[in-house]
């Protein structure tokens, strides 16, 4: 796994250094596949179907936004079909118009995903679509999945029956239209795949968003199997001939695609999963925290490096309190003098910390509890290693600050200050991670450092936070 992580990091670094060139190359490859497929399957206009035109289009599109590539692909298809027969061109244009109204108008920047579905069908891997869209997207991606399936099967049908419609001119436009619509849009295979991909995508999305261990793997496998089974059942009901061998190959590839996406976008360290439970005046919280897996700390985004979210939310503070409780249990011999104490105006603050609960407001709801969903928690975070308990109230308005002060919260900070603290925490954690990796090696005397890197992190972080909050330990001791 570490090798995979290292390779992933190497790819990320390479992309970060050469993102401009990488994007151009990727767009060029996509253009080559899209225009190549169109010209290979619908090469009715000879000058437009040559390799030179395909290559030229791909080169030009490599330097333009993907939206332009989509329009160019649509235009090329329309031109090719105009050469074949006007009724077919009309029906295809209407399908594209519907695709534009239903999907592309709302998300013009993401309409390039419409290109991916026909490409997946072209390579016989349609089940990779629900996996990719379900893992990385939202349920609305069902729309491009269905539209892509319709577009691919329509063009595939035209490719198979081109000779039949080649002679249809303006004279028999109505007859040609009727015949084409009856056979193309009632293509059962198209609807079988549209249903299978849609339901598979929803299954992948539903499982991916659950808080189960290895949710991406579970979602991938379940989604692919559901798509496969639905395709088989619907195929049997509608009496559609499906190529089972290719479908099994497709299942394997789709699972591989899911695993690759997981490695690239969602690496979790399930072994170090933490659970915590706490409550505030409104809710009970049952929290599961799964840390992300990083092979190299230096590549972590600064905000993610230090668990900023934990600091900024009630959950984080609850976890900190839980950690304090654990630390107290581990060090009973140190006695009362080493107990975490709050430098607090609230006499009950340290009790809250040891209970793993937030400060409670007597009398229930009030000004401080208005505005659900904002970052605001009155709680006591206990850090075991430096005998500090810092209390925070992260609020967004002065009215709330006042209300919090009335309630006896120890320290009132605004959201900007909280952000600053979080950023500071990130910086300190990054610095410490580097120094910890250095110090974890045996020193020149052949001994390991006496404190663990985790403890060092905590001490330095606490000192930094104390300084920012005006709770410097040295000042406190002096006084």
């Amino acid at each position: 796994m570490s090798t995979i992580n290292e390779r992933k990091i190497a790819i990320q670094r390479f992309y970060a250094r050469n993102s401009l060139q990488c994007n151009i190359i990727l767009r060029f490859v996509l253009g080559l596949i899209v225009f190549g497929s169109i010209n290979a399957n619908l090469g009715f206009l000879a000058p437009a179907s040559s390799f030179l035109v395909t290559f030229g289009l791909a080169v030009v599109m490599a330097f333009l936004p993907l939206l332009i590539m989509v329009f160019a692909a649509v235009l090329l298809i329309i031109i090719q079909l105009y050469t074949l027969a006007i009724p077919i061109m009309a029906v295809t244009a209407i399908v594209f118009l519907v695709a534009f109204i239903v999907y592309a108008r709302f998300t013009p920047n993401k309409c390039w995903v419409l290109l991916l579905v026909p490409i997946a069908f072209q390579f016989n891997i349609p089940f990779a679509i629900p996996v990719a869209f379900g893992l990385l997207g939202v349920p609305v991606m069902v729309v491009p999945a269905i539209l892509g399936s319709v577009i691919y099967h329509l063009l595939h049908y035209i490719h198979l029956t081109e000779a039949e419609y080649a002679a249809t001119g303006l004279a028999d436009i109505v007859g040609g239209l009727a015949s084409f619509i009856n056979s193309a849009l009632t293509n059962q295979t198209m609807w079988v795949y549209a249903i299978a991909l849609s339901i598979g995508l929803l299954v992948v999305y539903a499982l991916r968003t659950r808080s189960i261990d290895h949710n991406w793997k579970v979602a991938t496998i379940a989604g692919v199997i559901v798509s496969f089974v639905i395709a088989l059942v619907a195929g049997a009901i509608l009496k559609v001939e499906l190529r089972i061998g290719w479908m099994i190959f497709d299942v394997i590839i789709a699972i591989l695609v899911g695993l690759i996406l997981e490695v690239l976008f969602h690496q979790m360290d399930y072994k170090n999963t933490e659970f915590t439970q706490f409550e505030d005046e409104e809710n009970y919280y049952y929290v599961k925290v799964v840390p992300k897996k990083f092979a190299d700390v230096s590549v972590m985004p600064a905000a993610k490096r230090s668990g900023t979210q934990r600091l900024a939310t009630g959950a984080g503070i609850g976890i900190a309190a839980a950690e304090a409780k654990k630390a107290q249990a581990q060090k009973p011999a140190e006695g009362a003098s080493t107990q975490p104490r709050a430098r607090s105006t609230n006499p009950n603050a340290h009790k809250s910390a040891s209970n793993g609960r937030s400060n409670r407001k007597p009398g229930g709801r009030g000004a401080a509890s208005s505005g659900r969903g904002k970052v605001k928690t009155s709680s006591v975070a206990a850090r075991p290693n430096d005998k500090l308990v810092s209390a925070m109230k992260v609020t967004t308005s002065s009215a709330e600050n006042q209300a919090a002060a009335d309630l006896g919260a120890t320290m009132v900070i605004d959201s900007e200050q909280a952000q600053r603290l979080a950023a500071r925490k990130s910086a300190v954690m990054a610095k410490n991670a580097q120094s910890a990796s250095r110090s974890s090696r045996p020193n020149s005397y052949g001994k390991s450092p006496s404190i663990s890197s985790k403890e060092a992190d905590r001490i330095l972080l606490s000192r930094s936070l104390n300084k920012d909050l005006g709770l410097d330990q040295s000042d406190h001791n002096d006084r």
Partner: protein, 133 residues
């Protein structure tokens, strides 16, 4: 002396201005209500156009069947069905359009707000540097 922090900030601001920012500035120049209602009306227009085209295609393809079984009563029912379906389709797209464009406006407003915040931060930095110099 060059300030790395300031250069990073300027690069970030410039990237935003030349990318998503262009559209954001355009969107946030409208009031939310105006932007949402304008785009919802546009959606209704496009849906009407699409519906008309599909309906026309349907009549063209099944003209024989329709003409063979045409009576005054059946025409009346067909007209009612067409209008009901049109109403449902338009209502669905109105809801979708309203939600999508409302969210779009809110997000671009948020980004613009952040942009202005960083812009004023940059201005402060520049002023500070000028004073120091």
């Amino acid at each position: 002396m060059l300030s790395q922090e300031r250069i990073k900030l300027m690069v970030r601001l410039s990237t935003y201005e030349q990318g998503v920012g262009k559209n954001d500035i355009k969107i946030s120049s409208y009031y939310k209500k105006d932007y949402v209602s304008f785009n919802t009306w546009m959606t209704i227009l496009w849906v009407t156009l699409g519906y008309a085209v599909i309906l026309g295609l349907y009549f063209l393809v099944s003209a024989d069947t329709i003409l063979a079984a045409m009576t005054i009563e059946s025409l009346r029912y067909m007209g009612i069905a067409i209008f009901i379906i049109y109403g449902i389709v338009v209502a669905v797209f109105c809801i979708i359009g309203n939600t999508v464009y409302k969210r779009k406006h809110e997000r671009s407003k948020e980004r613009i707000k952040q942009y202005y915040k960083e812009l004023s931060h940059l201005e402060k930095q520049l002023r500070k540097e000028a004073e120091e110099a």
